[in-house]
Amino acid sequence: MSTSQESVLPAARLVDGVKTYGSGDAAVTALDNVSVDFQPARFTAIMGPSGSGKSTLMHCIAGLDSLTSGDAYIGETRLGDLKDRKLTELRRTEVGFIFQAFNLVPTLTAEENIVLPLMLGGRKGDREWIDNVIDTVGLRDRLTHRPSELSGGQQQRVAVARALASRPTIIFADEPTGNLDSNSGSEVLAFMRRAVDEFGQSIVMVTHDASAASNAHRVLFLNDGHIVHDMSDPTADRILDTMKSIGS
């Protein structure tokens, strides 16, 4: 599958990415020379033991953190060349984020939160598309509510909608279902998968949950800052087996 799309420009890409925290004896290498491509319209899961560098990998590709060496690209844009303002603009337009918790601005309504990146850019966005997204995540009747009036699952759905609203090149989600019960978790995952299948959205998701990862087209396994396994069309069982072999 990956061979057939070789000619297509990856949505995001890491080339020889190294990320070291601290220096000298205390230095921790969170990413050790990692290269990876994320293809458009694909749902990729990243798994690995705690401290293996999953979040670091995501942050570095998403422009939230800088690499110690190597290059990260969103589409054709090399992140290392960008100053804070351009980088911020890139995050606003080309990247979507879904965090584990505290995804929403408490003073804004659900709808305002959804269009926040667009509004920050002074854009109205594509209203039809946004309506479509809102309907897809099933939030039509919750639009005027503030985050404190929404359940955890609803909040995460708002976060998904926000990530989709600006039609970014790629969406990064760090344990988006980590704080949810299994029902709301699978709901959120289903929406993410639909976004990929129906809207052609690219999504990269970090997760500890094998069944969550089984929603993806592809699973990357990280250990000690290395990609140790790259699995296509995963199933929960295969994922669990691989995890065991890594030793987590």
Partner: protein, 847 residues
């Protein structure tokens, strides 16, 4: 426990320093007030002692024991000088006579040489006797046609010793004297006043007070005690003169200055207390927020065995440390404040005598007590709250539950209602005595402000939404986020802006009062005065020669002239407030509101104020016995009854034709002029000014100028008062900085999120600043509204002839609100930058 508390203090050093600053400001002001008053007291004590250094006894008119102005000093014959000097107990006796603003030196260009502010003092030279308080710096003592002046005046006028000096006399005539030397007063320094000294006979001539003295100072013969001297002098004196020892005079002088300095010091202290009061809100807010943020930490400590009392002690220790540090810094800062206040007042026209600043033990104690007290008192509620934190709180996740406003509303009302009652009692009721009234107003005001501050939390959110709406509309999502944050924590919003609210309430109150006085003055001018021009002494409204009226009357351009002369008379044996005026022309220049009879009372009649007449049961046509200054007694008939004393400032009116004969000097304080119909006002004015030209101290003004001058004076007063109140705004500024820092810190995670999803640094900064602006405008609006109410109430409370209507200075009030908003924006500068510089990843991952 102490270590923990200090650790807590260290961890929050930044915001504690801001809190500290707000306390320091108040404490420094308190200490500055004391330092300044103490220093002034020392200086003036020294001045008093210098002035009477060699004086063993002083002879003066009975009742002349106050440092009164020349109009009221009962003078007496100089013939007693020689009879006292002849006593064997006396070594030396010398008469002295002094007056302010009567004579001036004139420079080569014909310009009068005078200081701005302090007076020009004309008097008799009493050196080189042992009783002299003057010192020769250069040259010699003045004798006969000679004059001695202070060196500053000599320099300003370009006068040199041995050369002639032109002196302008009270009559307006010019005379030439020779400068014999320059002189200095006491240990040096004249407090900015100018001195013109002659020998006694020449001074009497210059002041038109021939044969009279104010007092006689006496030095005792060797071996004679002051008491013996006084006893020996007494038999020589008539009943209305007395002799007292030098010590008594010095004591009286000190007391006299002391009273003034006390009033001055207390006014400053009043401002200091306001600033301190305002700063308690900042401290309270800081500790309340800190305690709130540390709830989990306290819960953890409780769960590992700390008692609630220990937690409370920790908060108090922290507050005590802040108070202690603030006291120390404030004490030192007090010197700066004292120096600054000296500057402020000297730019406002006054001039302070030179002298070192001094600090007394009392100041030290008060400052420490006040600094610590204020900090600890503000921490009481937060400390109690901290003590009540349950161990379980350690395990609560998520943010702080927002406590309902019920308690706050109950407390606020419980404070506000008695506050308003007390305030009203102080303003409209009669608590008895000035200090009781001021206490009632002070405490009532404080309670009212506390109450309003607490209750304002009720509508802080809603008002912030309204104020923020245009921001949200204009600034898009940045404004929307600012608006949302501004209304997020109404309690904090209301506490934060309390300092601003109080500061602006007082400043707007003063503004309303000022505008009301000016408007009333305006009304008074148009209703009570019909003169085209006024003539008066420009510095302190002192007297000038009544002969001017006659000279002006001869001008063809002038239709009517009336002079007004304050009188010392007794009516049926009682001292009364009386004015002599030219009754024939008087009503054409002023309107005293004759209700019965006529204003043209003539030399055999008088007019009386309606309320006085009622009080005494007098009617038109009744006769009263009047005794004048010179002892002349006559019966006069009531020819008129009037009801408006705003211009003439007297209950009794006499004809100047009569009173000028029986006044020691024919002097007036005010003349009104109307122009001959058909005359060009400019021409008429020029003619008047040609006549007044020889009276350098006189100002000639028309209605507009008169109004302008009054406006300038009142505006200056307003500037001084507001200048002092601006300190409240400085405290408020620190408070806003503090709150914004705390809020930004609290919202670190949210800020990280906003940055992650694409908010630029600039947008973030702008939203923090807008938030502060919205909060501040809320506080400013609240303050201005309160200020208008306070100002309006004050106008009603002091409603008098000089303040008869309420004026609202809209322009100023709008400016205050804008200034409040700008204050907020500037205060948010640092917190906003700080927010913008947060590392996105770190911010997102904080908890």
């Amino acid at each position: 426990m102490l270590r923990l508390a200090l650790k807590g203090a260290r961890a929050n050093l930044g915001r504690l320093i801001l809190t500290l600053l707000s306390v320091v400001l108040g404490v420094a002001f308190v200490s500055g007030s004391f330092v300044l008053a103490d220093s002034l007291r020392s200086i003036f004590d020294q001045v008093s002692e210098d002035a009477f250094a060699g004086v063993d006894a002083q002879v003066r008119a009975v009742g002349n024991d106050l440092n009164s102005s020349n109009a009221e000093v009962p003078r007496f014959s100089d013939e007693y000088i020689s009879s006292i000097a002849d006593l064997p107990e006396a070594k030396y006796a010398e008469g002295g006579i002094f007056a302010f603003e009567r004579a001036y030196t004139v420079d080569a260009n014909g310009e009068v040489v005078r200081p701005t502010g302090p007076p020009v003092f004309t008097g008799s030279w009493s050196g080189p006797s042992p009783v002299s308080s003057f010192r020769i710096i250069d040259g010699e003592a003045p004798v006969g046609q000679q004059v001695a002046i202070d060196p500053i005046q000599a320099e300003r006028g370009g006068f040199t010793v041995g050369e002639p000096v032109t002196v302008s006399l009270p009559s307006g005539e010019l005379e030439t004297y020779t400068l014999s030397g320059t002189i200095d007063f006491g240990e040096g320094g004249t407090g900015g006043a100018f001195f013109i000294l002659f020998d006694l006979p020449t001074t009497q001539h210059v002041l038109e007070l021939e044969g009279l003295v104010d007092s006689i100072v006496v030095a005792a013969a060797d071996g004679v005690s002051p008491e013996t001297l006084v006893a020996a002098i007494a038999p020589v004196l008539p009943d209305d003169l007395e002799a007292v020892t030098g010590a008594v005079v010095i004591g009286e002088q000190k007391e006299d200055f002391g009273t003034f300095i006390n009033i001055f010091g207390n006014i400053l202290l009043g401002f200091a207390i306001v600033v301190l009061f305002v700063s308690t809100f900042i401290i309270n807010n800081t500790f309340a927020t800190l305690v709130g943020q540390r709830t989990r930490q306290y819960g953890l400590m409780r769960s590992i065995g700390a008692s609630g009392k220990q937690i409370m002690q920790m908060v108090f220790l922290e507050a005590g440390a802040v108070g202690f540090a603030a006291s120390g810094i404030g004490l030192v800062g007090g010197f700066g404040v004292a120096a600054g206040l000296k500057k402020l007042f000297s730019t406002a026209g006054g001039e302070f005598p030179e002298g070192p600043l001094e600090i007394r033990l009392r100041t030290l104690i008060v400052v420490v007590v006040v600094g610590m007290g204020v900090s600890l008192a503000s921490a009481v509620v937060p400390a109690l709250r901290a003590a009540r934190v349950a161990p379980l709180e350690a395990f609560r996740t998520g943010g702080q539950p927002v406590r309902p406003l019920k308690v706050r509303i109950a407390f606020g009302s419980a404070v506000l209602i008695p506050g308003i009652a007390l305030l009203c009692w102080g303003m409209f009721g009669d608590p008895g005595g000035t200090s009781a009234t001021l206490s009632a107003i002070g405490f009532g005001g404080a309670l009212t402000f506390i109450g309003v501050s607490m209750l304002s939390a009720m509508f802080a959110g809603a008002v912030a939404s309204v104020i923020g709406a245009p921001v949200a509309r204009l600034r898009g999502v940045t404004g929307q986020i600012a608006q949302g944050n501004a209304r997020r924590n109404p309690k904090r919003t209301s506490s934060t802006v309390t300092a601003l609210m109080i500061g602006l309430a007082l400043i707007s109150g003063v503004a309303v009062l000022t505008r009301s006085i000016l408007d009333s003055f305006d009304e008074f001018l148009s209703e009570s005065i019909s003169a085209d021009l006024f003539v008066f002494e420009s510095n302190q409204n002192l007297e000038f020669s009544g002969a001017l009226v006659d000279k002006l009357q001869t001008l063809p351009e002038v239709d009517q002239v009336a002079g007004f002369s304050p009188l010392e008379v007794r009516v049926d044996g009682d001292q009364v407030r009386a004015t002599g005026f030219d009754s024939v022309t008087g009503t054409s220049v002023v309107n005293m509101g004759i209700t019965e009879g006529t204003a043209a009372i003539g030399t055999k009649g008088l007019a009386v104020l309606d309320t006085t007449a009622t009080e005494l049961g007098l009617n038109l046509g009744d006769t009263v016995t009047v005794e004048f200054e010179d002892g002349f007694t006559t019966d006069l008939t009531i020819q008129g009854i009037f009801d408006d004393r705003s211009v003439i400032d007297a209950d009794w009116l006499f004809d100047r034709g009569l009173t000028r004969e029986h006044r020691i000097t024919d002097a007036i304080t005010f003349a009104g002029i109307t122009f001959t119909p058909g005359t060009d006002p400019a021409v008429a004015r020029a003619a008047v000014e040609r006549v007044t030209g020889s009276f350098p101290q006189l100002a000639v003004q028309d209605n507009t100028e008169f109004k302008q001058q009054a406006e300038d004076q009142i505006a200056q007063l307003q500037i001084v008062i507001s200048g002092l109140l601006v300190l409240c705004l400085v405290v408020a500024f620190f408070g806003i900085v503090n709150t914004m820092v705390l809020s930004v810190l609290e919202r670190t995670r949210e800020i990280g999120l906003l940055r992650a999803v694409g908010m630029t640094r600039r947008q973030l900064q702008s939203s923090v600043r807008w938030e502060a602006a919205i909060i501040s405008v809320f506080g400013a609006l609240l303050g201005v509204v309160l200020g208008v109410i306070l100002g309006w109430a004050s106008v009603i409370a002091i409603s008098d002839s000089f303040i008869s209507k309420t004026g609202i200075p809209w322009g100023q009030l709008v400016t205050f609100v804008i200034v409040g908003g700008i204050l907020g924006v500037v205060a948010a500068w640092f917190p906003a930058r700080r927010a913008a510089r947060l590392d996105v990843l770190e911010a997102i991952s904080t908890d």
